[in-house]
């Protein structure tokens, strides 16, 4: 019964794409990225007289990658037949084991497999375990000799292991696992070995430069591969436990597995997860929803190690489009691996009744990975030998800016995904499936990231060929200013700024459905009556109102300024004021509005602030246009310039003020927030100083005793014991909106009195609902 209850409360990890899927994709990308690097290196090491081979670098590299894929495909395809022969596996015969065959067929039905696998026995392997293997359309499950004997001697253990193997088939793990192994092996055969051979007799410096980079690749691939294999085991256990129940034999079987060797670091290289973690996942799936620093780090490395190599193969001569094309390939990977992780963490946070945590850690992992991957890439090698690369102070300034931009944008990007996930998860919980919500969220994030990666890597070649640019001299600054101006009037920038607040806040339109839905059909693995906790409401209405009010006030201010300036300026100067001065003042006003709103709204204050700033920006533009129409003719182009510069500059500034104001307000709320300890301490101190009114106000239910009765009762007790000398609060335990605590008084006569208190979180903060009154 307890086991069933625990099972019902397990969060459903299958509601989202699994870790195995993402790590598999990550592995493929790592291998392909690493192969691009190696085949480029191989191409560069070709002797000059091998002209036909040098005719096309693109053909060479793509041909190499295709060869690697073919080798991987062949290994994947022939492996099952080879394994059957090598391990002397024999099909389980109905004549030998009719009972087992019937039982296995029942298990296949229970697992809901459309077509059952072929069960084979390994008579020489005495362990009581199994293995699922095979290829597309032909799957096998090996029952080791030890496991077959368990059918008679320990049926629950037999059932648990077979269900675990069937879960691998249900989770479509077999293809992923064996293709992962195949591509790892193919990488060794088709890429690594030829590279090693090609380095014989080469200059030592070159070999070292390539060698240490290349050595990092197998490490990355191995770690990713082992992560794929570990993740799939845990998911298979959870799936099997859905069929077997928590009271089944799986937990016992896992308990009997030996602990892995190698300590803490051994966990990262082992193909199997720690049995302790596997058992924990059976009763609590929370850690499958946790964000991982190292996954994000690996994703970052896999992306940038290959980004610039892939960019070179995008068939266009426009540099920005090339970078955008590569961004289109890699952004979905980041969004798929890291973004999905954020969405899953949002569900776990909602179930835990807390804020999503770990976004900063994940962003740091991603950012550092992106930076390190770039350092490992062949582009970095080219940069280190380029005559035109930035050097000295220019290099330092560029690197500092680059690292800052990558880390900050990673943080901002993931924070934004977390904000959207947090608001939309409530809607998803009230829906039949979370898929529509997270798909839309991740697609928007993917578009956003594609453009951002495109921009970043459009700028990056400056470091390789920018030593002519006299950074940080005034000329360079004016170049940067021009770039920022063109960015600020770009429609994509407007769209990006709008999407920052629009997607998370749009969940507000579904608030009625959220309020009306009693529970969720997919959040937990079993049927559960639990409802997820209500969060502070989204308040786009408040943001809209404050935006309009702020906009109108700004318009009045600008009108006044315009009136004064027009009378003191020439027409040209006034036009200049309209184009540059007005947007600047407007941006400051929007930033102020954003800060006020961000400070007031408890949930996603900074995004509400941005929305308010946008509204204010629109009102200000309308006011400015109306005002300017009187003095100058405004055409559509000027209107657009005015609108985008007001709104985008405002958004840029508002972003900073809103984040600061929101963080500050959050901190202040935390410091001043009511909590059970604080309420009991106020109560106690008030009694000590005979302030019975304040003490009485800490009670939740005033009907049971009047203030006069309260004062008389407590006053008599305290005075009768020589006064209240000291008090302490301990053993506070909060659950939802109630809490219990122990309050201990030291009285004037050296006696101590202990009270068991119950508190409730009422609208005015925590109040004492029950206290054992002293006699």
């Amino acid at each position: 019964m307890v086991a069933d209850r625990r099972m019902a409360l397990r969060l459903n990890p299958f509601a989202f794409p699994s870790d195995t899927d993402f790590r598999f994709v990550l592995l493929i990308v790592s291998v392909l990225g690493a192969s691009l690097l190696i085949f480029e290196a191989l191409y560069n090491s070709l002797p000059a007289n091998v002209a036909p081979l040098q005719s096309s670098r693109t053909t060479w590299v793509i041909g190499g990658v295709l060869l690697l894929l073919v080798v991987a495909g062949v290994i994947y395809w022939v492996y099952p037949a080879w394994k059957m022969r090598r391990d002397k596996l024999e099909p389980l015969d109905a004549e030998d084991a009719p009972e087992i065959i019937t039982y296995l067929a029942e298990l296949c039905c229970e697992a809901g497999l459309p077509s059952p696998p072929l069960f084979v026995v390994n008579p020489l392997n005495r362990t009581s375990t199994g293995l699922a293997f095979g290829r597309l359309g032909r799957y096998y499950i090996v029952l080791n000799a030890g496991l077959v004997t368990k059918f008679s001697k320990d049926r629950p253990a037999f059932r648990a292991v077979v269900l675990h193997e069937l879960a691998h088939l249900h989770n479509a793990d077999v293809d992923k696992t064996y293709f992962s192994l195949a591509i790892g092996l193919a990488f060794l055969i088709a890429a690594l070995v030829p590279l090693v051979i090609s380095r014989f007799g080469r200059p030592l410096g070159d070999t070292f430069n390539i060698g240490w980079r290349v050595l990092a690749l197998p490490v990355l691939i191995y770690l990713t591969l082992s992560a794929v294999l570990r993740a799939r085991e845990v998911y298979a256990d959870v799936r099997a436990s859905m069929w077997d129940g928590l009271a089944g034999g799986l937990s016992r079987v896992l308990k009997g597995l030996p602990q892995p060797k190698g300590g803490r670091w051994g966990r990262y290289v082992a193909f199997h997860p720690d049995p302790h973690d596997r058992r924990r996942a059976l009763s609590d799936t929370q850690h499958l929803f946790r964000m991982g620093f190292w996954e994000a780090f690996g994703t970052g490395i896999a992306v940038t190690i290959a980004f610039q190599s892939v960019e070179n193969f995008i068939p266009t001569s426009v540099p920005f489009l090339r970078a955008l094309g590569a961004g289109l390939i890699f952004a979905p990977l980041i969004v798929g691996v890291v973004g999905s992780s954020v969405w899953r963490a949002a569900l776990a946070a909602l179930a835990r009744r807390t804020m999503p945590r770990g976004t900063g850690r994940l962003a740091l992992g991603l950012g550092l990975g992106l930076l390190l991957g770039q350092y490992l890439s062949l582009a970095a090698l080219a940069l280190s030998t380029s005559k035109f690369a930035l050097t000295g102070l220019n290099r330092f300034v560029f690197d500092v800016l680059w690292i800052g931009v990558v880390l900050i944008s990673s943080w901002f990007f993931l924070y934004w995904i977390a904000a959207g996930a947090w608001t939309w998860m409530e809607v998803a919980v009230a829906s039949r499936s979370p898929r529509p919500a997270y798909r839309v969220g991740l697609i928007i994030a993917g578009i956003w990231l594609t453009v951002w990666l495109g921009l970043l890597f459009y700028v990056y070649p400056v470091s390789a060929a920018g030593n002519e640019i006299p950074l940080p001299a005034p000329v360079a600054l004016s170049l940067i200013q021009a770039a920022i101006t063109s960015l600020l009037i770009n429609p994509l920038t407007l769209l990006a700024f709008m999407s920052i607040w629009a997607f998370p806040l749009a969940a507000w339109f579904w608030r009625k459905r959220v309020a009306a839905t009693p529970g969720s059909s997919w959040v937990f693995l079993g049927p559960s009556p639990l409802t997820l906790p209500r969060q502070h409401p989204l308040r786009p209405g408040l943001a809209l109102t404050m935006g309009v009010v702020g906009g109108v006030i700004s318009c009045a201010l600008l009108l006044l300024l315009g009136f004064v300036l027009h009378s003191t300026m020439t027409d040209d100067e006034y036009l200049q004021w309209i184009i540059t001065g007005q947007p600047l003042v407007a941006a400051v006003m929007q930033a102020i509005v954003a800060a006020i709103v961000a400070g007031r709204v408890r949930r996603l204050g900074s995004l509400h602030g941005l929305f308010a700033a946008f509204v204010a920006g629109c009102v200000i533009t309308a006011g400015a246009v109306a005002n300017s129409l009187y003095y100058v003719r405004i055409d559509l182009l000027l209107l657009w310039l005015l609108f985008t510069s007001v709104v985008n500059e405002g958004a840029l500034l508002a972003l900073l003020t809103a984040l600061v104001a929101s963080a500050l307000a959050g901190w202040l709320r935390q410091v001043t927030a009511s909590n059970p300890t604080k309420t009991l301490t106020i109560f106690c101190h008030a009694l000590r100083s005979q302030d019975y009114h304040t003490a009485y106000n800490q009670l939740a239910n005033h009907q049971q005793v009047t203030e006069a009765q309260f004062a008389s009762q407590f006053g008599a007790f305290i005075m009768g014991n020589g006064g209240l000398y000291e008090c302490s609060v301990s053993d506070v335990a909060e659950e939802n909106s109630t809490a219990i605590a122990v309050m201990r008084w030291t009285l004037g006569n050296r006696r101590t009195q202990t009270f068991s208190c119950t508190l409730v979180d009422a609208s005015g903060g925590w109040k004492i609902s029950l206290i054992g009154l002293p006699r």
Binding site: D87, P123, N125, G146, E233, H272
Partner: protein, 156 residues
């Protein structure tokens, strides 16, 4: 007795012993004996699959009797054949084979008109089986169990 005949006899006797002593291993018997007759040395070696890391996990190893039964029965059949050869040296190999088959009465109940072994001979067979099992590092208990089962297959 030709090799296939002898192998069949060994398989039949060993299967009978496994049925009596470790019936849970019967579903494996056919596969194990097939491997054994192809490569007798391999069957006693602990095999670890090269890709075990992809399986369920490093589970406990179960002590199986079937491989030992096959090896011990082989030695016993050889011993009995030698003994029969000595006593009926003039007879043909086929006849010797027939006699040996008939001696294992439980697995050949239809051919039980042969003269029974003396108690001393039966004790000798048991001793051969026991010693053979001990040489394979089977525990005393299991070696005795196996030897008794083999002796039993010649009695009834």
């Amino acid at each position: 007795m030709s090799d296939p005949d002898q192998n069949q006899l060994i398989a039949d006797v060993a299967r009978d012993i496994v049925r009596q002593t470790s019936p849970e291993e019967l579903p494996l018997f056919r596969a194990t004996s097939a491997v054994y007759f192809k490569n007798p040395d391999k069957v006693l070696k602990e095999q670890k699959s090269k890709d075990e890391l992809l399986g369920f996990g490093a589970g406990e190893a179960v002590a199986l009797l079937t491989p030992y039964a096959l090896v011990v029965v082989t030695e016993v059949v050889r011993f009995v054949t030698e003994q029969v050869q000595k006593s009926v040296a003039a007879e043909s190999a086929d006849l010797i084979g027939d006699i040996v088959k008939k001696l294992f009465k439980r697995v050949r109940p239809e051919e039980n008109n042969v003269l029974p072994l003396t108690l001393a001979q039966l004790a000798q067979v048991r001793e051969v089986a026991y010693e053979s099992a001990r040489r394979l590092n089977l525990s005393d208990d299991r070696a005795s169990l196996l030897a008794d089962a083999i002796k039993g297959s010649m009695l009834s």
